[in-house]
């Protein structure tokens, strides 16, 4: 955790502490069910000084630690303007996250971060923004949406293309109206409809056919299953969006969050450090290499 300018001795101790993966403790202040097997956990650092010093950028992640179970890299899904209140939308799918699902308000978890690169909110200024997300891939993009809503005048046309397997799996549906009110075009699709569903059916990349984009003034931000990312890139490129205007957030097994443990390598990149958000031209040499 980078906490401003401190004397070198204290700084070194802090750096060592980080490198040795010592967690900071945070209390669960709220749990919000989002969908089947997915909830958002609201966390607050126990240490007041840390609470004040902590800040993150949209797209970054924390390592969430449960003693005895281990750590998981979880993207931050809350508003970067309120860093004292950290939201993690967690799908209960692995050893650590299933243990998280049994926690209650008032319980304490370990937290390290923030780690990784951020969405290019500054570079995207003055441009149209296309946010395409699949399933829980919307979680790391929500801070970007928060930011856009807050600084709406900085951006041109903003379009959200979002999809999930079924209507029941869609996240943050209660916020869609607020986003629309902020002049964000929200297009939602599901792979499989149910009797209640009135909207689009199909995969996220198909939503690219439902609006016009101006390639030279658009920035594409995307997070979701790797197969979806491939088609988001394909559709963006088909519309002549240059590689340096496409940003993807990738997932890999991560243990340290600091480019040290080696697990999340992709070519010369350590995804936890040089990513998770990459500009597509940095990924291009590896993107089509199977299982690399």
């Amino acid at each position: 955790m980078r906490v401003g300018a401190t004397p070198s001795g204290a700084r070194r101790a802090a750096v060592d502490r980080d490198a040795l993966l010592a967690p900071f403790w945070a209390e669960i202040t709220g749990i919000q069910r989002e969908a089947e097997g997915i909830s958002t956990y609201w966390l607050r650092f126990e240490d007041a000084a840390l609470r004040d010093a902590y800040g993150f950028a949209p797209g970054q992640f924390n390592m969430v630690y449960l003693p005895g179970y281990g750590e998981a890299a979880i993207s931050i899904s809350s508003d970067p303007a309120e860093p004292g209140r950290i939201g993690h939308t967690i799908r209960f799918v692995g050893n650590v996250t299933r243990a998280v699902s049994r926690l209650k308000v008032g319980d304490v978890v370990g937290l390290r971060g923030p780690f990784g690169t951020a969405w290019p909110m500054k570079e995207a200024k003055g441009n149209d923004v296309i946010i395409s997300a699949g399933g829980i891939g919307l979680a790391p993009l929500r801070p970007a949406i928060h930011h856009i809503v807050r600084c709406r005048a900085d951006y041109g046309k903003v379009t959200l293309l979002y999809g999930a397997r079924t209507p029941k799996d869609l996240l943050y549906t209660t916020e869609f109206d607020a986003w629309r009110k902020a002049d964000i075009q929200v297009n939602v699709t599901v792979d499989r409809a149910d009797e209640s569903w009135q909207g689009q059916v199909g995969v996220v990349p198909l939503l690219f056919y439902r609006f016009r984009m101006e390639a030279q003034r658009s920035v594409v931000l995307s997070c979701g299953p790797e197969i979806m990312l491939r088609f988001v890139v394909f559709e963006s490129r088909a519309r002549r969006v240059p590689s340096d205007r496409i940003y993807l957030s990738l997932e890999r097994n991560m243990k340290c969050g600091q480019g040290f443990c080696g697990h999340c390598q992709l070519g010369a990149h350590f995804i936890c450090k040089h990513g998770p958000v990459f500009r597509f031209d940095d990924l291009e040499p590896y993107f089509d290499v199977e299982e690399y």
């Binding site: 750096v15 060592d16 490198a19 040795l20 993966l21 010592a22 967690p23 403790w25 126990e46 003693p67 005895g68 179970y69 281990g70 750590e71 799908r91 799918v93 692995g94 996250t97 304490v108 370990g110 299953p225 997932e251 890999r252 097994n253 243990k255 340290c256 600091q258 480019g259 040290f260 443990c261 080696g262 697990h263 390598q265 070519g267 010369a268 350590f270 040499p285 590896y286 290499v289 199977e290 299982e291 690399y292």
Partner: protein, 374 residues
């Protein structure tokens, strides 16, 4: 000889009988002296207290998937090339505790690790191994990120290097430019002749240590003989690799058919990563008391060949052995260059010797270098 000044960079003669005094002096300074010993039919690294602990009279026969320690009966102590151990175990231990947590009324209290690092004197570090240490320096002591465990152990390290006169069957340090003569960065560097050691002084600590011992100045003739020995060794390498343009070549050939072919032979056992002196990947493990009132978080060596290495929600990034072998080799001699501005291979040959399937990195690189015409 105490009245004659010994210079940094000088090469002197040390009688073999004096070597025990050198080790004793190191121990008196607080070092744990570790070096090669014979254990279970192989040369491993562990505590050595006197010259007689070293593998005198041994050589080893090494080939792809084959290692035999042979008692050759000669009087030399440092003639046997390294076995499965590497020095990295002393700087980047296979298992280290990061911290221990105890349950408190609310949450947990953290107990940090013990702050005092051990002080090791490495006895008999070869050129390839010294270079491997420098490669790991770049990995663990980066400008933006430093591993405190490695830093503290490295800072206290004493290195007695040894010039390699008889390379093993799987060695290719001459191709990689890391040996057989040791490069810089040692405290003392030794060349073993039948009767005596030639010792090059590489640091102030090394100079101080030598000053009290019964050394003699080395004649130009002996120094020449030692240099010739290294040159001869360079011509006796068991293997060669063509390194020019190697990182670029590998990164451009990630879809080469050879990966599938070697993937069929590789057992994905991870032996190569365990014996590699530069492999640095690690995992974390929690060890909890049965009562769940305490948990210890350990850092342990990991391997890109383990299925869990690339496991994440949604499955394994590299389910096939082909992809894991490619990750290992393309990292070692490809992506490593982009990360640390050096190759991750020093040509020690351990991965060849200790591969149960006899996969030979030099052969795989050569196969990848073959242009595929479709």
């Amino acid at each position: 000889m105490a009245d004659v000044q010994i210079d940094l960079g000088a090469t002197v003669i040390l009688g073999k009988a004096e070597f025990d005094r050198l080790l004793a002096r190191l121990r008196a300074l607080g070092y744990t002296t570790v070096g090669p010993r014979v254990q279970d039919g192989a040369v491993t690294y562990g505590p050595v207290e006197r010259l007689s602990d070293l593998p005198q009279g041994y050589t080893s026969e090494q080939d792809a998937g084959r290692y035999r320690l042979v008692a050759a009966g000669h009087p030399r102590y440092f003639d046997v090339t390294p076995g499965p151990h590497t020095w990295k175990q002393y700087l980047f231990p296979p298992r280290t505790t990061l911290f221990t947590l105890r349950r408190a009324d609310r949450g947990w209290t953290t107990e940090s690790r013990d702050g005092i690092a051990p002080r090791f004197a490495l006895i008999g570090v070869r050129g390839c191994e010294l270079e491997a240490l420098h490669v790991q320096d770049r990995v663990f002591l980066r400008e933006d990120q430093i591993d405190p465990i490695y830093r503290e152990r490295r800072r206290r390290l004493f290195i007695l290097a040894v010039n390699c006169l008889r390379p093993g069957g799987t060695c290719f340090c001459a191709s990689m430019g890391t040996g057989p003569r040791v490069g810089g960065g040692f405290d003392l560097a030794l060349t073993e002749l039948d009767e005596v050691f030639l010792v090059e002084i590489g640091s102030e600590v090394g100079r101080t240590l030598m000053a009290d011992l019964a050394w003699e100045s080395a004649s130009a003739f002996l120094q020449h003989a030692a240099a010739q020995g290294c040159e001869r060794a360079a011509r006796q390498m068991g293997r060669t690799v063509h390194v020019e343009g190697l990182p670029e070549m590998v990164m451009e050939r990630l879809e080469h058919p050879r990966w599938s072919e070697v993937g069929k032979r590789c057992l994905s056992c991870g032996s190569c990563t365990l014996v590699c002196p530069t492999c640095f990947c690690w995992d974390t493990q929690d060890h909890s008391a049965v009562k769940c009132d305490q948990t210890r978080r350990d850092r342990v060596w990991d391997s890109c060949f383990n299925p869990s290495y690339s496991y994440q929600a949604g499955g394994n990034t590299r389910p096939n052995v082909r992809s894991r072998y490619r990750q290992w080799l393309a990292h070692k001699v490809g992506a490593w260059k982009g990360q640390f501005d050096t190759l991750g291979c020093v040509g020690c040959g351990r991965c060849i010797t200790w591969c149960p399937a006899g996969i030979d990195i030099t052969e795989e690189i050569a196969a990848l270098q073959q242009e595929v015409r479709s």
